[in-house]
Amino acid sequence: MKRNLRFSSYTLPILALAFAVAPVLGNNPLSRPGLLQTMGVAFVYGGLALTYDLLFGFTGLLSFGHALFFASGIYFTCILINHKVFVWWLSMIVAVILTALLAAIVGASSLRTTGITFAMVTLAFGEAGHVIVNRNFFNLTGGENGIALNSDRVPQFWIGVVNTKYLYWTALLILSFVYFMIWWITRSSAGRVFAAIRDNELRVQVLGVNPKNYKLLSFTIAGALAGLLGTVMLLLAGSAAPRFASADLTISLLLMVILGGAVTRWGAVLGGVAYSYLTTRMQDFTQSGSLHHLPKWLSGPLSEPSFSLGIIFILVVMFAPGGLSGAFYRLRARVISKK
């Protein structure tokens, strides 16, 4: 019976494979570069949402500074490349290592607090990062405009519109890698301690395990993986910009995880991919003029995507904790119990 309740272990690999072969299968939406780019970005956000799920869903850490590590991956890679410090692959690796270090330092400091205070403190650290890239210290980060990636120093199969499908595949690959890593971590013994901390930190402590070390481990892994995703985002966006470091980005991650459903892994990925895809499309919808016949006091707020998003978010938190994937499992459990 318990086996039936599990999400089939074949579904995800098949889905990933379908996405992987779609661009070369001839006439379908994914054979056009425009959508490939959008989907590539969506895959990166899906992975990013998953790393946030590791923190929030699996370890119970409500961090508001996660964008810092995503941005750190983007900026470090871009700076190392543009200043000709290392070649691409080495830059990528060094950027991820530096991001992991940064996550360890920020984590060690902010994990001295817990719960809601932790949320506030991580928000402050995240915002400090946002300010630093915005201010263009030492002429490194380019200030408000960000820095364009010097594409001559990037492997050439990623460059140019014709090669968008390689970017798409890279994004899909990195998403699969992050998924695998988090699947592996959350099922490992450390992952079980993460969940135990989320459910009852005091009990973990009483059992003789130091929760702080495990929380720091979770924070650092999530940060490093976010940095890795950042390096791919740099390729897709072609530049490093302050918006990748903003608290708004972290809040979107929170929305993705809550709406998709925390702790199920695929829920966060689905939330991230769908959110990223829909916000790109939503702009077309709100500018299409379909709202013009409504009174102005209503059409104004409705044309702001964050209005409907905020309301849906509030309703999900209040009435449907578990989001989409939670609802799926509940429905499935009901169907099975009826049989």
Binding site: L62, S109, S110, R112, T113, G115, I116, T117, A119, M120, V121, L123, A124, F125, E127, A128, V131, I132, N134, R135, F137, A247, I251, L254, L255, I258, W297, S299, G300, P301, L302, S303, E304, P305, S306, F307, L309, G310, I311, F313, I314, V317, M318, P321
Partner: protein, 293 residues
């Protein structure tokens, strides 16, 4: 020396603005354990309500009308805070994480409504002429509005203190911050204190919104941006739940930020976060906070 005094007083003025935000945050957190992410949105609500009053109702720009518009801004923000609390927060009793999450949603919705109604452009806030005048202290000339921020913050601190000290609801709030379970066990309706705190916090944020819109030369849905984050930093450094702690921390941060920014542009934000990290390492409960038993 002139710039030194100017920077110092501007810093205190800025600190006063931070305090207006932080006082509500710290009380709401202290009493209910709720982290209110919608507090920045309340600030914007106050600014727009004040602007509406100053441009549509009492259009003559003089000091009385300005003060009235400030109170209107405060009342509007307080009212929205109260509605939000009744409609959403109370439904999630004791679910602190979810309460914090819901306020994120509220912030999105309120921000979207304001942006939809007023657009993202900067609207000028009509102010009495004397705001722009300089007041001489020694040889330094200080813009007069700085003193108004400080005055309002001090008035609010005193009002807050008097309310907490001398009224029954204040007594319940203080007792609730100390030990909420015990207060409810004694048969006192703590929920009414919750609503009062939400209203007061919203009121302070609304008043702060009007002042912020003068400090940043106009009203837009985006003005709250960094103030909420500074509010959080102030609350943590001052000690969660402590209003005097917030006042102290707000002044400290305002001054340090101004001086650091004067010597190296943009260094201010960095120094403030550094200060936060140091406080967390040395005194995690904040300047005037107590360790929870």
């Amino acid at each position: 020396m002139d710039t030194f005094i100017l920077m110092g007083i501007t810093g205190i003025g800025l600190g006063a603005l931070y305090f207006l935000i932080a006082s509500g945050l710290t009380l709401i957190y202290g009493l209910m354990g709720v982290l209110n992410f919608a507090h920045g949105a309340l600030l914007t609500v106050g600014a727009f309500a004040g602007l509406w009053f100053a441009t549509k109702v009492a259009t003559a720009t003089n000091t009385t009308n300005f003060l009235l518009s400030m109170i209107v801004g405060g009342l509007a923000a307080g009212l929205i805070a109260l509605i939000a609390e009744q409609l959403v927060i109370t439904k999630l009793y004791e679910r602190h994480m979810d309460q914090a999450l819901v306020t994120v949603g509220l912030a999105l919705v309120i921000g979207a409504v304001l942006a939809g109604w007023f657009g993202n452009d900067l609207h000028t806030y009509p102010t009495p002429l004397w705001f722009a005048k300089g007041i001489k202290i020694g040889t330094a000339i200080i813009p007069a509005d700085r003193f108004m921020y400080i005055g309002v913050a001090i008035a609010l601190l005193i009002g807050n203190w008097a309310l907490l000290k001398f009224t029954r609801i204040g007594l319940i709030i203080r007792a609730g911050v100390e030990n909420r379970t015990m207060v409810s066990a004694l048969g006192i309706n703590v929920k009414r204190a919750f609503s009062a705190v939400f209203f007061l916090g919203g009121f302070a944020a609304g008043v702060g919104g009007v002042l912020v819109s003068i400090y940043s030369n106009g009203v837009s849905p985006l003005i709250a941006g960094s103030y909420l984050i500074y509010g959080f930093i102030v609350v943590v450094i001052g000690g969660l739940g402590s209003v005097p702690g917030s006042f102290l921390a707000a002044m400290l941060i305002g001054i340090i930020k101004q001086y650091a920014n004067y010597y190296v542009t943009g260094l201010g934000d960095f120094v403030v976060v550094l200060l936060l990290a140091i406080v967390l390492l040395v005194r995690p409960q904040g300047l005037l906070g107590r360790v929870n038993s």
